[in-house]
């Protein structure tokens, strides 16, 4: 009887995976999805993570011709934003992040990064607003990316710290840099550590 139930379960799982909505084997080669658009977006992120930003852009762009849900469209524009940032510079990414930000947290982070790189003191508050809407001002806030990219809590807190710092809000900047340093990330980024250390020293404050 137990064997029969086990067999039934295996057949049921196979049916779920292959029987509904068709099967799309992504470029990853090791996962299957029920939603072809989602799979396509994930494939584009996979290409992005391999460093092939031009191909990733092409793939994200071709997605826009599909019939996408609002969430999928946001994911696609967000991907376009980050791929464009890596290939041409984040100053070219603004319109993509703008289109995605209402349905994609990563796009809000991307837009905040755009405002930092814009290096315009009259615009930093806009980047701060995007991150504060995600609750990043809370130093305990852990950030998980909405897409398959390498955003993490340390990067996002550092970004907010820099925006605060260049806005002259040194106390808040100091808190964010410390949060970025102390937050537990699986693979700490040496660049982030160097930036936070340098700016903590710049704020003239010590723990």
């Amino acid at each position: 009887m137990k064997k029969l139930i086990f067999l039934f379960l295996i057949i049921f799982v196979m049916f779920i995976n292959h029987g509904c909505g068709g099967s799309t084997l992504g470029n990853t080669g090791f996962s299957t999805y029920t939603d072809p658009e989602k799979s396509y977006i994930d494939d584009a992120w996979y290409i992005y993570n391999k460093g092939n930003y031009a191909s990733a852009k092409q793939k994200f762009n071709s997605m826009l011709e599909s019939n996408l849900s609002a969430k999928q469209e946001a994911d696609t524009y967000c991907g376009l934003g980050f791929a464009t940032a890596m290939e041409e510079g984040i100053l070219e990414s603004k319109e993509y992040f703008e289109k995605a930000k209402d349905n994609n947290a990563d796009a809000k982070v991307g837009l905040a990064a755009y405002y930092l790189s814009l290096a315009d003191k009259t615009q930093f508050y806009k980047g701060i607003k995007e991150l504060e809407e995600l609750g990043i001002q809370n130093v305990d806030k852990k950030y998980s990316p909405s897409n398959n990219n390498d955003l993490n809590s340390a990067k996002v807190h550092t970004l907010l710290g820099l925006l605060y710092y260049y806005s002259g809000r040194f106390n808040e900047a100091y808190e964010q840099f410390n949060a970025a340093k102390t937050i537990n990330e699986p693979s700490p980024d040496s660049n982030i550590k160097a930036v936070t250390d340098a700016f903590i020293s710049n704020t003239g404050m010590t723990k």
Partner: protein, 242 residues
Amino acid sequence: MLKNTLILIVFAIIFNSVCFAELPKVIRLAITDPTPNNSHGAFLPSYFKAGMLMIEIEFNKDMDNKVKLTEKNRVLLTFSGGQTLPVTKGEYITSTYWVGAVDENTIISNYSHNGKIYLTVDGAIDTEGQKIKSEKSAIYYLDISPRFSTPKIFPNPVSPHDYIVSVDSSEELQAPPQLMIRGKVVEMKAISALSFIGTIHLNDDSVSVTQLRVSGTDLQGNVGHWPESIDDFPVSAPRRVR
């Protein structure tokens, strides 16, 4: 009678040489700026740029050139904040004329702001072994070219190929400084009166601060650079400024 007169004359000569001998003194003490095109000097008396300071001292008597004025703080610059800087380069060009120099790097390492300065001379000795009375110059206005902090360059935390460069200036500039990295110009913007940032997209995983060059012009038209590269003023070939 004649004998008494002679005694009186000899006595008068001795008395005069002992009591009224001419003491050594400074008859001219000047800081001059041999930098060309010092147009501000036409509008502000005693104004000079601090690229190269030439110090001239003229004495009324032959001086003992074995007594080095470059030692024991004998020639001393005093800044408005009270800091002092001994002049350690200089020599007697003639027995009555001494020229010294201070290069800008030496000044900057001691004092990094525009402000008033004056010069004092003390301890010079003439060939008869007589010491001068301490002499103080007029007040001068020192206009140092702008200094720049070592620039910071770091990647945007979420866009690693977009580098952010920040630099601070020691004084207000006519415009944000020009920053170049590997021959590319980075547009800098003012964050405050003395702080500037700019961004540049580079398809590199790492960029070193040693690849940066910064230059900017202060409100008086002095140009400063980072890194600094100012040659010492050639003391051995002074130019006398009248």
